[in-house]
Each structure stands twice: as C-alpha cells, then as structure tokens.
Symmetry: C2
Subunit: 713 residues, 2 copies
C-alpha cells in the first residue's frame, strides 16, 4: 500500500463497499470504482459526473478537450455495447449533443436502467493499452491478470495470471512475461513504457483484492501505459459473497497421518474375501504376494480365516492397533464401517468402492467425510484402485503387485490412467516408490501427497495426473516448496475446451481455465507434461539424469540429418545450443574428419570408428564449459549399435568415477539392433531412444525446466 | 489485371523499371512505387512531392489536413529510423516546419543521401493496418505475404504466405487464414473490413510480381483496410536480377526414367566386390539376398566372378542392356565410370559415394551432373545409402534387405534418418513399397519421386524426410496434384532457427524460412509431421485407416480419465467431437450403466463386460451420422486386454463385411498385456497404442488433415 489519504484507503474502500451492499448492488459505478482504485494509489484520468448536458459542457471545458463521455448506470455493465460511450469529443457543442445521444442509447438498450448521469473523462491519446484485473478463481481463489489491451490482443489472448497476493517482483515478471512484452520495452525506436509503474499498479490491485476478499472482480481495461506512468482509464469492480477458504491441515498433521498411511505397521481389509475375482480377494492377495511385512487383518463377518490369516468379524474385534483400513465393500456399507475404523483409531481409510460423488451421490460422500473428520481419519478416494508403496512392499490395490523399487512417486485421479502408469512402469522397468489413486479426492489430495513425498527419502521425483485441484492454492504453495527439492511433473487433463467438458462429466469437478493453470503451475515450479506418454517418459527419464550445472548443450552426432532434427528439438524444448569457442572447436576438429562439421552440432560423420565417438564424447564430458550432451548415433558396420552403447556407458562411467556428472541423452538411428542398444544405455543412466530425435531432447528439456525453476542454474 | 490506364499498366511499370535500371538503382522512390502499384489498380492516399517548405504547405492545403510528411531519397530505405517521417501535420505552419525538420534529420542520418524532396501524403486515420507484400524466396520463387500490420503484430509475426501467382480465392483464404482474422471480420461491434478489397489487392500484387519477375520485393506496409476499401499507404519496391527458373523435366520424361530405375530389368554394380565389409560387397549381397529377380552384373576390373555371378571389367563390357548402374566406387572415379554408363544407355546412376557437394567438392558434383545430362541419365544421390523397391524385391543399398511389402513409400535426405526408417519399419513390421535415399539431390529429388509414386499401384502413401527443396515450386505443384490421390507426409528438418543453422552446415543448402514452408506445404495438401517419430507413425497408421466420410468423431471409453485426455488430443489435432443427438444419446445409454456418462465421450465406465464395449462400438459403426471412433480401453478382470482386442477386431470386421468402413483408433490403459492387445488390433487395421492417449488421435488427426486437403470431406 503506497498512497495514504486522509481517511485511510481501507476506510474509503470499506465505506464504498458498504454503501454498495446497502443498496443490494453487486457492481460499483464508474465513479465508485475510480474512488476505490485511487484510494489504493492507482491513477485515473481527470473526470467528473455530469447530470445534464450543460454540466457535461462545463466539466469538459474544465478538464480540457478532447474528452470521453460514458454512461453511468448501475444496470449497464457493458457500456460500449449499450452505445453508452463516445470518444474524441472535441468541443462544447459535441459535449452537449453527446450527453443526449448517450442517454438516449442507454434508454433504448434498457428502458428500466437507472441512469445516474454521464461521466466526462479526460481522453488520453498516448500510450499502450494494457489490461490489469483480478478475479476469484474457483480453483485458485484470488488471482491477478495482466495483458496487452486492445481488440487485437483480446483476439490473440496474450494474458498472464498469478496468485494474489502478488509481490512486486512477480508483478514485474508478469509485465515481462507476456508474449508481446517486446512492445512494452519499445520497438522500432518507440519509447519503452514505465514497466515499474505497471508492476506497481498490478501489485496494488493485488493488495486491494487481498484486503477486500468480497471484491470478486476488478477490471482495469484499458490501462494506458506511457513512458512515465500507468493510468487506469476504465474501472469495473464487482463484489460477491465472501467465499470461505477451504479447511486445511498443517504440514505436521499431514505428515503424521501420511507416515502411518504409507508405512503402516498393520492394515485391515474391510470386506476381505477368499473368493477369487472379488476385489476383497484381490487386495488380500496383493498384500500377501506383494511381500508386505506388516500385519494383515482380514475383516469379514462371515469368515474365520482368509488366505491363512485369521479374520475378524469387524475391525473392532481386531486385537491389534491398525494404521490403515482398506475398504473393499459396497459404498452403502462404508459409513458404518468407517465409524468403527475411526473408533479403532486408524490413520487412513482407503476407499476403493465407487458410488459416491462421481455417480451423483455427493450426500453419501459428504457423510463419509464428516465421519472421518470426527475421528481424525484421513480418506484416500473414494473410487480408486488403491495405492502402492514399494519401500514397504505394500500393494494395497485390487490390481497386480508392483515390485521394481525406485525413486518415482506417481498419482492419478483416474483408475484408467493408474493402470497405464502400472503397465508402462512394468514394461519400462521404471523404479517406483509409490503409485497412488486419488479418485474423487474427498479428503486426501495432491498437496497431501506432495507433503509426504517431499520428506520421503525413497522418492526423487513426483509425477501426477490430475483433472482438477480441490484447493489449487494449497497445491501451488506446496508445489512451490517441494519443487525446490524434487521435480514435480503434472499432467493436467481437460486442458482444452473439449477436454474440460469431458472432465466436467467425469468428476463433476469445475474445469479450470487452462491458461490460469498453466501460469500458476509454472510459477510453482511444476513441470507440465503435454500428454500421458510425456508424463511417463519424463518420470522415467528425469531421475536418471544428473542436474546440469549450466545452459550449454552440445550435440555430438554421427548422422548430420539427426543433428538437424536434434537442433530443432532443442529449440522446441527451450534448450540453448552452446556457441562453441574457437579453442573447443579446434579440439573437436582434431578428432573428426576434415569434411565433418564442427560447431554445434558436432558432426563426426557417419563412417567413423568407435574411437571418434569416444574421443568427442570424452571431450564433451571433460570440458567444464559444456553442461549437457545430446548424442546422435548412426548405425554402421564400423560402429555397430551395441559397440556404441557400450563405449558410451564406458566413457560416461569413467567421468562419473572422476566426479564429473553431466546429463547425457541419445537418439539412435539404425536397424532394429538400436532397440537393445538404447535399453543398455538407459539402464546405465543415459536416456536413450531409438527412431526418435524428439523424446530424448524432451526429457532433457524437462530436466532443465525443473532445474531452472528450482533455482539450480 | 483490373484497372487499365491510357498507357496500359505494363507499359507504365516497364518504363519506371527501365528508368530505375538506367540509373543503376535497385530501390524505387516512393512516388515511383506508388505509380507502379496504381498502374495495377491498387489505391494509394492522395499525395504529392514537395521540394521546398512552401511547396509542402501548398500541397498539404490542396490534399487536406492532416497530412504525413516523408523524406524521398533513393539512399534512405528505412525512413522512420532516419527521422524522415512526421505524422499528424495539422496546419500550414506545421507543414513548413516539418519539411525543414525532415530534411535536417535525413542529412544527419546520411550526409551523402540524395534528397529528392518530401512526400506530402493524405493521413488516413481510419481502418485496420495490414501488410501485403511479395518476395522472391530462394526455395519457392515468387511468394506473396499477408498479415496484420502495426508494431504489435510485427512482434507476434501473424503472417501467411502463398506462391504467386495467387488466385483471388487463395488471396481470400489468406485474408481469412491469419490467426487474428477475427479482427478483420469485426469484433465487439466494430465494422468488418472489406475482405474482398484486400483479396483483390493481394492478387494484384501477385499479378505485378508475376508480370515483372525482376521485382524482387514489394512491401505495402501499411495497407489501411476499411469497411469499403483497402489503401496502400506506404509502398516499397526493390528490383533485382532476374533469376533463371530451374530446369525441369516433363512428367513423361520423369516417368520414363523412374520406371526403369525403380523396376529395372538389369542392374550393374560398379565397384562390386567379393570382400566382406566393402560397400560393393554389401550391395551385391543385398541384391542377391533380397531376392531381386532381374539380371545382376557385377563390374570390377580385377575380378572375373563375384557371388557366383560373372564380373565385367567395365560396364561397357556387359553383354546386356543395363537399366541401373549402382556406383560403389570412390567419388574421384565416378566421372569416368558415369561416362561409360551413359554411353551404355543406363536410365539411372545410383551414386552411393560421398565426397561431393556435402564435403565442399561442388565442382565434382557439377561435373557429374553435366555428364549425366549429356547422356540422358538421371542421378540418385550422391552421398546416399541407396534405395529399396519391394515389389521388385530390389534392395540396392549397402544396408540390409527389407522384405515386408506394403503401401508406404519413404525417402530421406539423410542416411541416418534412412536407417531410422529401416529400423522402425522392420520393428513395427510396416509394409513398405520403397525407401529411397536422396542425399545431395544433385539431380533426382522429391518431386521426381512423387511423380513416380503417384502412379505406382504398390504405393498408397508417401512419407518424406527433407532438409530443403532444390525447387520448392516444382515440389509444391507436384504435391498439390499427388496429394489429391495419396497422402504425402513431410518431415521438414531445420524447422527452427537453430535447426536451420545445422541444416546449413550439413548440406550447404539455404535454409528456408519455416513459416513459408509451413504455409506452402499445407497449401499443397502435404501433411507435415512435427518430428521423426510422428513421420514414422503417420506413415504406418494412415494407410491402415479408411478415409472418413465426415467430421463427426466419437470417443467410446471404459476409463473416464482416458476420455478426458482423448478429448484434449482431439482438440490438439483439429478433430471435431460430435455433438450427439438425443436419439443417439438414448441409444448409447441403453447399453451403459446409469452412472456412466453418455454425451461425447461415451463413458461406459470401467467395470463393464465385453458386451458393453461390443454394443457401443457396434452402435458407433452402425449409425451413419458417426464418421470415426476413438476407443479408450481400461484393463479390468471383467474385460481383459486380449478379450477387448478380439471383440473390437470382430465387430469391426463384421461391419467391414457389410461394407461399412470407418476409421477406428484405440488407446489402451493397463498392465503389460495391453502391448500384445495393441499389436493384435494394429495388425487388423485398428491403429492402437498402449500407454498413450496422444498417438492414436494424432494419427487419426493426420488422416483427417489429408482427407480435408484432398477434398474428400
């Protein structure tokens, strides 16, 4: 807050909002809006309210021509469409005529509109039009928006969003971050606009909606930005009901529950069954076959023993503490069983059954959540396949056990996507710490998982499929913290309008505007995967690669054609091809034939023996100015695929032993033997693919995006 | 040509260009430029040339204020940067002052500039700024450009290109095809601009550069477009040397050569060898092992027999007609051997060796081309792996034979990419008619191949990797024709600035501007693949799919989560999710559980038996309003992967037998068994992939793009 007035800005705004509320309005008039933003130190053009044509002439003369005339009516929001705006009024006669025209148009547009008068406003003819606004987003709460204004940009939708409160530094990033930012910096000899003034204006809008949560929308459109200031020409403010912030658990509370849920000493299976094909049987088998070493308690009122384990009639009857209760019973039986589990003191209730919110039965879901809250139980699901945590050999799911331990933790909102994760992981032998179904997210959601995985030493990377966020702000804040330590990859389904519609029908979740998700996820350090396969490949590849120490990427290729495609992929993925210094260029040239091309890509040409690959790769690893290598291999008789793979592993290992760790990825072009060679490379920490120049570079690009966001570069 | 003047437009322009040339200039002055475009019926604002301040006042008064003043000097091209433009001159005093200021600025900018005077121009204050231009592109020759003008769009680069001559219909498409086209149609109550007038103006620019090839550049920037006309405010015209059009063969000549090259009755291998590891040995082995049934003649001065076949000392000594000579000898020996092969009457010389243009030895390459021309021999290469044509079991290459016949013809400019094509094809068992290396393209290039494959009954689709086009116009014209009959897929490497640089160092080819390639390839009906893997997957998948009969795509999914991602992919790939009519919605609902979601996607939910998949898929095939199906499968015990795959093949076959052919693609989510199930589906004409929702939809999208471009929808 910058500018102080006599009454104090908060008091001024509060008084105006009280008056608006007292009149039962939700939109502020233009003069009210102007007074509100001025109280927060935002400049507006000279203006006055005229209530008859003579007034209009007098005020226009005082303010100075040219002026703009605008209808003032609480019932007319879109003034232009109502014929309620006249620009370029040059003299007294035009002012008087203009007043009459506008009022006539407004009556014609809405005969019942209450007309307060006509606003006479100084007409600013200089400067760039920009838009600054704030809205209450259903997912993220208060967010601020900044974009270039004018009809053209409205069509091209060049706008960026951030969570409010927005720091001045973030506001500055917004000003610098739109696609057409170059315009504001001054092009073709034009003066740059005052970007500091714009950033200040944005942060003041942020202050305003943070101080007054009942303001649901602020629209400063246009703001005119010149070389020395930013002026809000038109102000539109809407008030709404104050929404209650979602209830949250503290980090300590989350960890206390999650630690018991992910590393339970004992689990109960409510609805355990001896009958093959039943979910309660699959869960029991997976717990046992998966190698879980904790205590397993089947619960079934009609059985005494299941899979050789003594069965209890109810969870109450179990003569042991229980950390986790896995529910494999129909939805309608869940409330009663959850009451019992709560009384027993479980930390987590894993609700596999469907038949809750996703089928329209929100009431039952709410009832179940209330029971859980009462007992301090956290719910996973409902409507899920369950979850895996490999460090405990825990496969609490009706799918199949998973047994390749490793550093990747995955979650999915959809069961189908969960199965794709499982199949891909098994096929690619991807090392996994956890796979978690979150389903309806009645309680536990992605930010709880992030909080657990953040401190979980078994987890190096977190990859999440999601269709919505129940509390986008909590997720963003958690991700911001976690992504500094571990990469967080998100596949946000329902990206597009059509996709968003399908999300609506699937989960009943409100589909967020993708542009908002995109900006806020990026700002939180999250790496967004464009598709399912990218999510999986990023998850698999990123932990394999050491974190680069700088931006200098070098391509070394035996196939010039691959070099071109790899270069294209570098640009697509935001990677910087290093400009090779002369001495380094000479050093590369010493190893390659005279008709090869040094520079970057380093084209060693196709007919070369293994030593050429080895020497150039070793040089790339050795020189500290190079930070990452992309290899393009071309299958020849002279250097067959496995020879290439083995020499690469060998030379990379040699440098690792010397403490030199650089990310190395490879694209292999050749006959089918390149498949086995790629696998050999991948198994040894070199992210390698056959028949594609895009994938290895995309994985390296994702690693770089994370490293930049985490401040490691 | 629309407007006729007394002297005739051609004469007017010719006289001006002659005068410019006589003075040794390459840039026209503004008045000259204006006269040229006016001769071609393009309106310009009222204007006059003033040679002193008094003149400026008089002319401005005559034209009417406000006016713009602009320096006129053959030595100052960028007038704004020289301080040579003043806008909004409102009265006589400003006009006189302005004249002096501009001349002073111009002298300051370039003290030697010849100053003709100052142009006094009517200032148009209404309308949208657009840019219309024409340039001589090194790849495509004369092209016209259209974009929205103004500083903002210059930054966002919203411009589109077409080959000149440009029909009025194409010009109209340009106006409608830019990203911000909505602006020109009128947004927020603004009047639409006269798009017909803009199209006319574009086609007149096209006429101008077509009539006068020596005009290398026309830049009308801005053109002001209003609701009733389009006026070229600023005209910049540059003349250059007339470039000779590349020499071309007729379609008949190309086919006569290509038919002998692709279906030779006999081939000679110059440099055939019995020594394993030699290229001349690999080629011999591949011809023999590949099963080629024609006559094979090894040529080697030192051998009498190779692989059991009698060897000739030179090609001259072969006692047989020879259609194709494959060269497996060092570059320096090629000219002499080619003379002999030419004298022998071969149709094609397959130049495997490197050491020509790509290593800087352009002279040797030119010599070889001259020899070929003299004898009427066409050259493939040099610097290639050779070529395959499976209908003849011909593997004329040093790689390995390929033996899965099918409808896909592929070519690559790079050997490395050729090997990737080979490996992918073998791994995916992709049916191939031909794989051709084009290398340096000293002679035969992509448009020759297109011409052959167009008429080749064995080829259904053509997929090409290219880094440049030697004659972009010939390619575009040929592709335009061929793509009407068969899909043409192109991977253009060197898309990006960094990529283009690498292309430069690899082939010495001038890298084209990608935006030009993109527009012109699209206009030619070519489907562009964004990457290597896409090229391969499109090539493999598109021929599997029948051509859809309409735009209505329906997703049927067992996994709601897949449905959302598949919907996203539809939007990304330009597919239209059908709005399901009520009766059809009811029909789907009859088969799915009450909590499933009809609409589109049709979400049958996860726990359903095979019959639910079968019934809904059958309905999708049966209903003639649905034109394509995307299936999302979710692995469950109730409907295991192979059960799903078999039922889909079964029901699709059933409808095929009834003459109903619709494209069906599938995304399979599940454990590793979905891999085998996907393969089974693919083998039966359903393009299916595990662990990805993107790929099957991308292939369907590519099929649709082709069908639309070919006018089949």
């Amino acid at each position: 807050m910058a500018v102080q007035t006599e009454a104090g800005p908060r008091t001024i705004v509060q008084n105006i909002l009280d008056a608006v509320r007292a009149e039962g309005r939700d939109a502020l008039t233009a003069p009210e809006g102007r007074a509100v933003v001025e109280a927060y130190g935002i400049s507006t053009p000279g203006e006055a309210l005229a209530t008859n044509p003579e007034d209009a002439v007098a005020e226009a003369t005082r303010i100075g021509f040219p002026v703009v005339l605008k209808i003032v009516s609480p019932d007319i929001l879109h003034k232009t469409e109502a014929g309620g705006v006249l620009v370029g009024i040059k003299n007294a006669a035009e002012a008087a005529d203009g007043y009459r025209t506008i009022v006539r148009n407004a009556r014609h547009h809405n005969e019942n509109a209450r007309i307060v008068g006509v606003q006479v406003q100084q007409m600013l003819t200089q400067g760039h039009e920009v838009i600054v606004g704030a809205v209450t987003d259903p997912t993220f709460g208060k967010i601020v928006a900044f974009g270039l204004g004018g009809v053209l940009v409205e069509v091209l939708k060049d706008v960026t969003f951030r969570l409010a409160p927005t720091s001045r530094a973030t506001a500055k990033q917004m000003v610098e971050g739109i696609k057409a930012a170059e315009i504001l910096r001054g092009v073709r000899g034009a003066e740059p606009v005052d970007q500091e003034a714009l950033a200040t204006l944005i942060s003041r809008v942020s202050d305003l909606v943070t101080d007054f949560p009942e303001i649901s929308e602020v629209d400063l459109n246009p703001v005119l930005a010149t070389s020395d200031k930013a002026t809000a020409v038109d102000v539109r403010i809407i008030v709404g009901a104050e929404t209650e912030p979602p209830s949250r658990f503290t980090r300590e509370e989350i960890l206390a529950s999650m630690n018991r849920i992910m590393r339970p000493a004992s689990v109960a299976v409510i609805g355990a069954s001896a009958e093959a094909g039943k979910i309660g049987n699959s869960v029991m088998k997976n717990l046992v076959d998966g190698g879980y070493q904790g205590r397993i308690h089947p619960v079934n009122p009609k059985a005494t023993e299941i899979l050789g384990l003594p069965a209890a009639k109810t969870i109450t009857d179990i003569d042991d503490d229980v950390d986790v209760a896995i529910f494999a019973i129909p939805a309608k039986f869940v409330p009663q069983a959850l009451e019992e589990a709560g009384a027993k003191g479980v930390a987590g209730a894993i609700l596999i059954p469907s038949g809750f919110g996703e089928t329209g039965n929100q009431e039952l879901q709410d009832e179940v959540v209330a029971i859980a809250r009462k007992h301090g139980v956290r719910i996973l699901g409902p409507n899920i396949y369950g979850y895996y945590y490999t460090p405990e050999h825990l496969s609490a799911t009706f799918c199949t056990p998973y047994d390749v331990p490793g550093g990747v933790a995955l979650s999915s909102q959809s069961g189908g996507i969960g199965m794709a994760i499982l199949g891909f992981s098994r096929s690619a032998r991807m090392g996994v710490s956890a796979i978690v179904g979150v389903g309806n997210k009645a309680d536990l959601d992605e930010d709880d998982l992030l909080t657990f995985f953040e401190d979980d030493d078994h987890t190096q990377l977190i990859a999440m499929h999601l269709e919505d966020l129940k509390d986008g702000r909590a997720f963003a804040e958690t991700a911001q913290r976690v992504s500094k330590r571990k990469p967080v990859i998100v596949l946000k389904a329902g990206r597009t309008a059509a996709g968003a519609k399908a999300a609506g029908s699937h989960t009943g979740a409100l589909a967020g505007d993708d542009a908002v998700y995109d900006d806020i996820l990026r700002e939180s350090g999250v790496i967004r995967a464009p598709g399912l396969n990218d999510l999986l490949e990023y998850a698999r590849g990123i932990p394999q690669l050491p974190t680069p120490k700088g931006e200098n990427v070098v391509i070394i290729t035996g196939a010039g054609g691959s070099g071109v495609l790899l270069s294209d992929a570098c640009v697509d993925n935001g990677l910087s091809l290093m400009r090779i210094p002369d001495d380094l260029d000479q050093a590369f040239r010493a190893y390659i034939p005279p008709f090869g091309a040094a520079g970057n890509p380093v084209d060693i040409t196709g007919g070369e023996p293994p030593s050429t690959y080895r020497n150039t790769i070793a040089l790339g690893l050795e020189d500290p100015r190079i930070h990452a290598l992309i290899l393009g291999y071309w299958h020849t008789i002279v250097t067959p695929p496995m020879t290439f793979a083995e020499l690469v592993v060998d030379v990379v290992d040699e440098y690792r032993a010397r403490g030199i760790h650089k990310p190395v990825v490879a694209s292999l072009s050749g006959d089918v033997e390149v498949e086995e060679a790629s696998e050999h490379l991948y198994r040894n920490g070199i992210v390698a693919y056959p028949y594609t120049t895009e994938k290895p570079v995309a994985v390296l690009g994702a690693k770089y995006r994370w490293a930049r966001a985490a401040g490691l570069l």
